[in-house]
Amino acid sequence: GCFVFKPSPKKRRVSQKTAIHFGEGKNDSEDRELRFDTCQSLWNQIKLETEQIQEDLNKQLLDNVVSFLRRSHSGFQEKTTEWTCRTKSREIPTAALVLGVNVTDHDLTFRNLSEALQNNITPYIALLEAKDCPGIKNLMQKLMGQLMNCSVDAVSLEDEDYVQVSQNRIRCSMNSVVNWYESVTKKTDSETLSKKRTSSSRHQQSPPVVVIFKDMESFTTKVLQDFIVISSQHIRELPLVLIFGIATSPMIIHSLLPHSVSSLLCIELFQSLSCKEHLSTIIDKLLLTSRFPFKLGEKVLQVLINIFLYHDFSVWNFIKGFQLCIVEHFYSQPLSVLCCQLADAKERVNSLSHDQCENIRRLPSFRRYVERQEAEKQIGLLTADSFLKETTQKLLEDLHVYHENYVSVLRCLHVFTCSLPKYPLGKQIRELHCACLENQVWETEDYESSLQLARMLNKSDLETMLQQCVEILVSSSGKEFDKAVGKLKEFLTQFQKLEAEAFQEQDVSVSSQKELQKKTDLYHLQKTLLELKDSRRSKKLTKFEMLRFEVVDYIDSLVR
């Protein structure tokens, strides 16, 4: 049923080929490679960024685990009392990583983890997956194979064949692991002195052996139990540390393992960031920045988020979907050449061919723009390529600025709306983002209601929000925000003043109360005070509204 076809002349075209398929079948062959390159570079950039983000997010977790490992077997060499006491009870130090249900994202986490361990703690790491270990025998085989490969890397690369052979022949038992460990540690001890000082000195004198169970839930219980019981017998000779990757909840350990087995483990729990937060960070960093020229439309983003929330909780899948969007966009849109950084885009506009100009003219958004212009200008736009190019450059610039502003304004708006009761515009910034993409947000009812609610905010909240907004706007690079920042600061000072005034007034009122000592007057006074306050507040709020409208105006003016 299988047939292999080999081409007779072995042509090796690797990367060009990819580009050739790009946009083939369509007539717009020009700029194909340019487009492809842009696409690839953009994607690579994004990929790097996401990996960076993930690494940062996992950093805390990894640090914790590393320090745990350091601690766990610190007493192995020194034979301290604590250590002996623990070995008496034959407890294996165990780290339980609760990683959440997005199993597909865990690969990266584990890769980072093993890298971090390799660099900091120990060269002896075995990563086990349930699918490789249907029985205890397979598990031991896999374990030994990985450990011995580690030792080859760490110690010397001289006799690989020997290891290969021995790996197959050695009876896989914990005894042989222990023997191997002893021989290896001796070797390293002797060898560190001679040559590999740099690599080994980072590790401790006798590095622990780390066994990672990637997906603990899918291991058969018997295998796990056997392994734990067997290795607990050897804990004296072998500084073993287990790491369980857990998708559901830490309770699973106790439901999987009977008490007699789980009592052999000395478990410490580590909780990773939830995948939702993970996604929010990713969206924050990828979509809500002006760094990447590629933006997702409302519907696409909604689909991706829905897949994430209702389907798999996999950030990895989200990013894959994002990649697909990018590829699709660059593949199908000849004008996507311009989807790059502003400076490049300007250059590229200048070198556009006539066909591409026609493509621009065919764009619906451009048509709308043209229709709004005066008659001569319209003719110019539709006939003269050079004029068209000029305007496109201008428009592109506008767009760029708009995106920059959009993000920060969006953040400000989010600051205001995220703490409102019932979250009319959504709790997460991504919801707000979707709403903004969907249509002009200030025309929606939700926006109205959120404004209503915002008017009822108390002063301290308002102040903190304003403060936050100021920070956001200051941190963003847009020039137009200077004014807004100034205004916001003004508001803030006014608030502070108001506060002071209010205190004073209260003092005054109290004193006046004492002075007057009349109930009717008191009542009257209170009433006036209330009125006063109300008016103040309404004044404040009108100012606030002004601000709101200003914000809205920003968005309004910037939406094309």
């Binding site: 047939f3 292999v4 080999k6 080929k17 199993v103 996999s314 899948n317």
Partner: protein
């Protein structure tokens, strides 16, 4: 239920009044049933009254099943019934002037009605016969449903062809069933006071019953008996079927062609996406084999690629892996397990990034490849950046093969490519219902070989064949063990020692008439590797000869 007892307390009631009463009763009953929404419960309560009247068994206990949707139907029927006695009284009057007997019977009648309803549910069809039968027969039949059911299963295949014959047959079976069922009937129905009243009652019953089943006849769903069995030429040879199918014109040829062109325009996009690390899966109605072939011939001519026919009945993951290691990687040597092999492949592809391989799998969801382990291996293969997988799936539940982990390894892009083209290649390994199984060949060879053997040898084979046919319903039938077989042959005076038997068996084995295999306990089991129908035919033929 209370009204029934009232009837009994006042035995002298006029017919008219009785009718009214019955109407009331039926209404009451209907309401009761509707209220309770549970037919069984209603049946139980109804049957409870006759028990008080002297019957011995309550229907609810015996026939415990639920059919709540019938309750309304029962109500309808009951009201209908309430009218029928009025009509039927006139002819009955001459036969039976004694109306007093009617009232206790009416309660029984009611119970009968329920019982019949129960039985009708059991029987589920054939009310036509009921309508035309006499009440006594009917009652007997109702009391003894088992023989009836048996007879029904016998002639159900040809039921609509000759009804008369059927009736005869049925009469026979019913009559034969009478005696056996007499006891059960006596237990389940109230003992009759006298034969005369019984006759009378049953005459009336007949009308009721007819009405009952007539009322029910419309609701029955008849399954069509137009099966393949009834076709004039129901079995064709493979060749004729093929020719016939070839002659049939392809509908909407132009549209399908257009559709295919649409799919073909996606080829370059697929290439791009494959290169970008996605794998492609095609789904949708129709054979996607031609499409993939076209893709292969048009775009993959100058690259290494592997075509896997998943529909091939003996394809395994191992063979896929083997063809990769042996032919693509030119590796001589064997592997202990598929996992080792996979590791080797992964290693090689990671080492040499210029190594590229396109894998086309037709029917990734075929019987042989849909297993968990196969999919795991294929997924791991496809996750390699320089192995490009493009596959097609046809089963509607094919996506259920993959869990999250596998999905992420596969990294699918789904393309809906409905082609509407027939699955000619894919089903070429399957047997068509319309094609005569290759039994004829086996049969002729069987008889041919056996004719050349001695009488004793034929007897031995017959014994084995009969034993196998007796066990044909046992799916885990391992075969006849040698010892048992020997014993049987001795008893039939066919062999005198196990050496002679072994000699005969060797002869059979040489002609591939039997197969032997060792069971788990080390006992030798003998099996004729021919399907049961052929074996039956063979035995029939043998019988004719002898």
């Amino acid at each position: 239920g209370i009204k029934l007892r009232k009837d009994k307390a006042q035995p002298t009631v006029s017919v008219k009044r009785f009718v009214k009463k019955l109407e009331n009763i039926s209404d009451n009953e209907a309401q009761e049933i509707l209220e309770e929404k549970d037919y069984v419960a209603a049946l139980g309560t109804c049957a409870q009254d006759p028990v008080e009247n002297g019957s011995s068994v309550s229907g609810g206990e015996v026939y415990s099943f639920k059919s709540p949707k019938h309750s309304s139907r029962l109500a309808e029927l009951a009201s209908e019934l309430a009218q029928t006695p009025g009509q039927n009284v006139a002819p009955d009057h001459s036969k039976c002037p004694d109306k007093t007997t009617k009232t206790p019977q009416s309660s029984r009648k009611y119970m009968f009605l329920l019982l019949m309803h129960v039985f009708s549910l059991l029987l589920q069809n054939k009310k036509k016969e009921f309508v035309s039968t006499t009440p006594y027969r009917l009652r007997k039949r109702l009391a003894a449903p088992d023989p009836y059911l048996e007879s029904e299963s016998e002639y159900s295949a040809s039921c609509s062809e000759e009804e008369d014959e059927e009736d005869h047959k049925e009469d026979n079976t019913v009559l034969s069933g009478q005696k056996t069922s007499a006891k059960t009937k006596a237990a389940s129905t109230p003992p009759p006071s006298s034969t005369l009243t019984k006759k009378n009652k049953e005459n009336k019953m007949s009308n009721l019953v007819e009405e009952y089943f007539e009322a029910h006849s419309s609701s029955k769903v008849l399954t069509s008996d137009r099966t393949l069995q009834k076709l004039q030429r129901r079995r064709l040879s493979q060749q004729t079927l093929h020719d016939l199918l070839k002659k049939a014109p392809l509908a909407y040829a132009a549209e399908i062609k257009e559709l295919n062109q649409l799919h073909e325009s996606l080829f370059s996009k697929w290439m791009l996406q494959l290169h970008l690390g996605f794998n492609i899966v095609l789904y949708g109605l129709g054979s996607k084999r031609d499409l993939l072939e076209k893709f292969r011939t048009s775009l993959l001519q100058d690259s290494v690629h592997l075509v896997v026919n998943g529909y091939f009945p003996s394809i395994t993951v191992r063979s896929i892996l083997n063809s990769i290691t042996e032919e693509v990687l030119d590796h001589k040597g064997t592997f202990r397990s598929p996992l080792d092999q996979l590791d080797f492949i992964i290693e090689r592809f990671k080492e040499d990034s210029s190594l590229e391989l396109f894998v086309l799998i037709h029917n990734l969801d075929s019987q042989m490849l849909r297993g968990e382990r196969s999919q795991q291996i294929l997924a791991q293969l496809s996750s390699l950046p320089t192995i490009y997988l493009i596959a097609s799936v046809d089963h509607i539940n094919a996506p259920l093969m993959w869990d999250q982990a596998k999905l992420s390894l596969y990294n699918w892009l789904w393309y809906e490519t409905t082609t509407f083209s027939p699955y000619v290649e894919e089903t070429s390994y399957e047997n068509s219902l319309l094609v005569q199984q290759s039994g004829s060949l086996a049969l002729s060879s069987l008889t041919h070989v056996l004719r050349s053997l001695t009488l004793n040898a034929r007897g031995i084979f017959r014994l084995l064949a009969q034993y196998q046919l007796e066990n044909k319903d046992n799916p885990s039938y391992p075969g006849l063990s040698f010892q048992d077989f020997y014993q049987q042959c001795r008893e039939a005076f066919l062999v005198n020692s196990d050496l002679t038997l072994r000699a005969q068996l060797t002869e059979f084995r040489d002609h591939k008439l039997i197969r032997t295999k060792r069971g788990a306990d080390g006992v030798e089991y003998l099996l004729i590797p021919v399907d049961d129908s052929t074996l039956t035919d063979f035995l029939e033929k043998e019988d004719e000869d002898v």
